[in-house]
């Protein structure tokens, strides 16, 4: 595999010959078709490809939202295919944080309640929750908006709230599915800066799915290209100093 100079040598995600096939009527769809890859702990990786390339399916398999048809996917030493539904839910709760293109906040809840939700599932004590929620909202700069409902906020604010929610249970892995897809470019950059901040300051491994090559080049340490469910090639991004994004705003 390619070198990942900024990260440690531990492997966060490893897939071997990973396949996800399903039937749509008569035709067999090979959404993910024999993908083998590794992501090191603390690495920032972008999965690139056109729509239908299988990058989102790949992300769902890593997230434990979907199960492989064949092959293995191991995350933080857990073979996801072998986990029970119950254990898979725990894995999603504690190991993975997810953000989506459409934010996926629950519309009937305030921001604070949305961010608090994973803590309820994790059965964290009520007394601790308030502090954790405040801390997370502070980190994304939304403290003042905590009692607003998602519909009262801009897209960028919603995505920041989603990031706060993804981070609330202190996961090791952040999975982002087109996180800037519904945002204008300026707001997109704000969000991406936050993601990179999580990556650098909290040591979270980031796997981001995107079809915007420019965005991937600016933030990712490594780009993995997919087409028709297969891994076509990988491309390391030049190290820190050479990248303007690493200094902050370009």
């Amino acid at each position: 595999m390619t070198a990942a100079p900024m990260s440690s040598l531990a492997v966060a995600v490893r897939s071997e010959n990973l396949c996800r096939h399903y039937h749509m009527g008569e035709t067999l769809i090979r959404a993910v078709d024999g993908v083998s890859l590794e992501v090191r702990a603390g690495e920032f990786v972008a999965l690139l490809g056109s729509s239908g390339s299988g990058k989102s399916s790949m992300l769902n398999l890593i997230a434990g939202l979907d199960r492989p048809t064949s092959g293995t996917v191991v995350v933080q030493n857990r073979d996801l295919a072998k986990l029970s539904r119950e254990d898979l839910a725990k894995y999603r709760l504690h190991v993975v944080g997810m953000v989506f293109q459409s934010f996926n906040l629950i519309p009937s809840m305030t921001l604070a309640e949305n961010v608090e939700l994973p803590l309820r599932f994790a059965e964290v004590d009520r007394s601790q929750r308030e502090n954790l929620v405040r801390e997370a909202l502070d980190r994304v700069g939304l403290r003042a908006r905590k009692d607003h409902r998602p519909s009262e906020l801009s897209g960028g604010e919603q995505q920041r709230a989603a990031l706060a929610r993804a981070l609330i249970n202190r996961p090791q892995l952040l999975l982002a599915d087109e996180p800037t897809g519904n945002l204008d470019s300026h707001t997109g950059i704000e969000i991406m800066d936050l993601v990179r901040e999580f990556n650098r300051q909290l040591g979270m491994t980031v796997v981001m799915v995107t079809h915007e090559r420019a965005l991937a080049e600016r933030y990712a340490e490594r780009m993995i290209f997919l087409a028709d469910g297969k891994l076509t090639h990988e491309q390391p991004n030049p190290p820190a100093g050479a990248q303007p994004g690493r200094q902050g705003h370009a």
């Binding site: 539904r85 839910a89 709760l93 996926n104 906040l105 809840m109 994790a122």
Partner: protein, 469 residues
């Protein structure tokens, strides 16, 4: 997820689509209300029936007859019992002996005779019987017009409604509405009747001297060994008019005119048994055709009956009838319960529908929750909690509604009863266990109804759910 969180989220979700969920909850409450209403009607009716029956004297009364009496109720016993010729005479000492038996409240002679009553110079032939003062509590006198006898010896009379109609010459054509007791009572109360009767006189040689209020009309003495029969007249004041048939259990022998017991005894009216017992009775002793025995508690009827039989008399009571009555109410409960729960079944379909709709509507939300770490069990419990919350709320509202319906119906019926000049009745009872049962039943039905939708929500594929927009 912990229970407080579960409850909080469930209530929040119920509030989100408040119209649909309140309609469903109203559905449950109507179901519970109908169940509670039906069952409390059944319970109330049973309580009323047993109250009525205890009051009617049917269940705590034993009728005692001599074994010689050919009209004895139980023919079998006559065959198995001692020879009729050796059986005991039902006279005053026998009455006192029976009254001393344990658990006996009172034993009084049934004085009953057919005679002529004159009202406005028109003769009417009827059966007259005597009532002890304890009969005042009998529910037949509850809706009575006028009053009960002023004393046990007063020359007063109470008439049964049908006899009053006869006196007034008001025979109703079939199907015509019956006149109310109040209507009949108005022209009759306070009026006098003249009773002609045959007196059993102790001394045959000399006719009894006329007393203050008696007039010996004819010295119709009968040549007999021990006594003579004298024709006499007695003026009686009409004090009361009863609606219900006091003696319904006596069949064709029942009386329609009632005298106070002590007065009737003092008249020494010729009894049918006097002739049959003539050879055995002491000349100065009255022989009773039958004695009514009132027992302290309907449960003791059987034991008292056995004791009286041991004394050598025939007995009759309606203990067995109460067993049939209990069975009847058991069946009634079951039926009312089934009809009541039909509405609850409809309501449970409403719950299933509401929750299935909620799954469709909240597909995405379920997907989000799963993506951020909710387990199948979390999602399932959440839907269960929503169903349970609707059940509890619906159950509580339903019990209150059922109780209110009962109160309204009770109130309305009592207005109707009042118009019919009948006493008000409490035929609606909601015991505490029915309240608890109603609420638990609602929660149970809701949880069972929530099973399928909750299971479906739990099994929802998060990838599919999130793709759905």
């Amino acid at each position: 997820m912990k229970l407080p969180d579960l409850t909080e989220l469930a209530l929040r979700n119920l509030r989100e689509s408040v119209l649909r969920n309140s309609l469903t909850t109203i559905g449950i409450s109507v179901g519970v209300a109908s169940l509670v209403a039906m069952l409390s009607l059944g319970i109330g009716l049973q309580q009323m029936a047993s109250r009525r029956l205890v009051k009617s004297g049917l269940f705590d009364t034993i009728i005692v007859t001599s074994r010689r009496e050919l009209r004895g109720m139980s023919r079998e016993e006559e065959r198995t019992g001692p020879n009729p010729a050796e059986s005991r005479v039902l006279d005053e000492p026998a009455r006192q002996e029976i009254e001393r038996l344990p658990n006996v409240l009172e034993a009084y002679p049934d004085i009953r005779f057919r005679t002529e009553l004159r009202y406005e110079d028109k003769p009417h032939l009827t059966t007259i019987s005597a009532l002890p003062s304890s009969a005042q509590s009998n529910d037949a006198f509850e809706g009575m017009q006028g009053s009960f006898f002023s004393s046990e010896t007063a020359a007063e009379v109470i008439l049964q409604k049908s006899f009053a109609e006869e006196l007034l010459g008001k025979t109703q054509p079939l199907g015509a509405p019956e006149p109310s007791v109040a209507e009949l009572a108005q022209p009759l109360l306070g009026k006098e009747l003249l009773m002609r009767y045959a007196q059993r006189a102790a001394a045959p040689q000399q006719p009894a001297p006329p007393k203050t209020n008696e007039t010996a009309s004819a010295d119709n003495s009968l040549a007999a060994a021990a006594y003579s029969v004298v024709s006499r007249e007695q003026k009686l004041k009409i004090v009361g008019l009863s609606d219900l048939d006091v003696e319904s259990m006596r069949g064709p022998m029942r009386a329609k005119v009632f005298l106070p017991l002590k007065l009737a005894e003092s008249l020494h009216v010729m009894q049918p048994t006097d002739v049959s017992e003539i050879s055995r009775a002491a000349s100065d002793q009255t022989v009773y055709s039958s004695i009514s025995v009132r027992v302290k508690n309907p449960a003791q009827v059987q034991s008292v009956e056995d004791a009286i039989k041991k004394l050598g008399f025939n007995t009759f009571s309606i203990v067995d009838a109460s067993r049939g009555l209990r069975q009847f109410f058991g069946v009634l409960y079951a039926f009312l319960g089934i009809f009541g729960s039909l509405a609850l079944i409809v309501a449970s379909i409403g719950i299933v529908n509401t929750l299935v709709m909620a799954i469709l509507e909240r597909r995405r939300e379920i997907g989000i929750m799963k993506a951020i770490g909710a387990s199948d069990r979390d999602v399932k419990s959440l839907f269960f909690a929503e169903a349970g919350a609707m059940g509890i709320l619906g159950g509580i509202a339903g019990v209150i509604l059922g109780w209110a319906i009962g109160q309204v119906i009770n109130f309305g019926t009592n207005i109707y009863l009042k118009r019919q000049s009948l006493p008000p009745e409490h035929f609606w009872a909601v015991p505490w266990w029915l309240v608890v049962f109603g609420i638990l039943f609602a929660v149970g039905v809701s949880l069972v109804s929530g099973r399928y939708p909750a299971g479906r929500a739990a099994k929802l594929d998060p990838v599919q759910a999130l793709r759905y927009e």
